[in-house]
Symmetry: C2
Subunit: 116 residues, 2 copies
DNA sequence: CGATATATCTACTACATTGTAGAACAAATA
DNA sequence: TATTTGTTCTACAATGTAGTAGATATATCG
């Protein structure tokens, strides 16, 4: 297996979304979770290729589900974060936390945003 | 100027280092700050090219200083984060914070991020 | 004194990995 | 067949990273 490397920014976001969604995580719900929570647009392509790469790295597992009985209810591919993925996520977030911790100079804007 | 995009993971770390170091920020000190704080190795090339790109995006400014009177004291290039850089950093950190907030019992260090 | 060794730093080059968009494709119900 | 929900594929841009070369200062030894 490849040597563990640092996660990219979007990879961190996607892994976090997987944790949040638990068993409800699949392409569309993940995308919606990220968009509604961060307010930033996520293209389908960006999401699926990132998920695919995370799976290659053994950070995520996926399986095809059954089709649902609703119009257009095509079978979903369900994603779940693996232990390796959680460990890696923790490392990346830890590094970020170490760098950001205690910065007094956060502008007022951020504090305002943080209250929302 | 290019359209504002999301910061990469390493870009976030570098900008945070600039804030931490204030006027003491130059290639070597930035590198050391990141390495000692995160425990992760940073190659010189990685750092300078990232700084250079951040400068192109108008997130960072730099100026050449004078040579110091120590052996090998070549002139340093001093870096400082600009208002645009702080604003962009806020956005990225905010998005990450929104995704990470409350997802689990993060170790204490990580809560910094989740609190934002 | 001055050639050259050595230390501190920055700049350049090349390539790997991630990020992103959009069209194409698939499968279900109306 | 039309429409809706989803996923896969293709192509390219932006970031991440290592390694090497170059620049410029002080040290040192004949």
């Amino acid at each position: 297996m490849r040597k563990a490397k640092n996660l990219g920014e979007f990879e961190i976001i996607v892994l976090a979304a997987l944790i949040r969604l638990g068993t409800d995580a699949y392409g569309v719900s993940i995308r919606q979770e990220i968009e509604s929570r961060t307010g930033r647009a996520v293209s389908v392509g960006a999401l699926y290729s990132t998920l695919s790469r995370l799976e290659e790295k053994n950070y995520v597992a996926s399986r095809m589900g059954d089709a649902t009985a609703e119009r257009g209810g095509r079978a979903k591919r369900h994603y779940i974060i693996k232990a390796e993925g959680e460990a890696q996520l923790e490392k990346s977030v830890f590094a970020l936390g170490k760098m950001l911790k205690g910065i007094k100079a956060w502008p007022e804007t951020l504090k305002t945003l943080a209250r929302l």
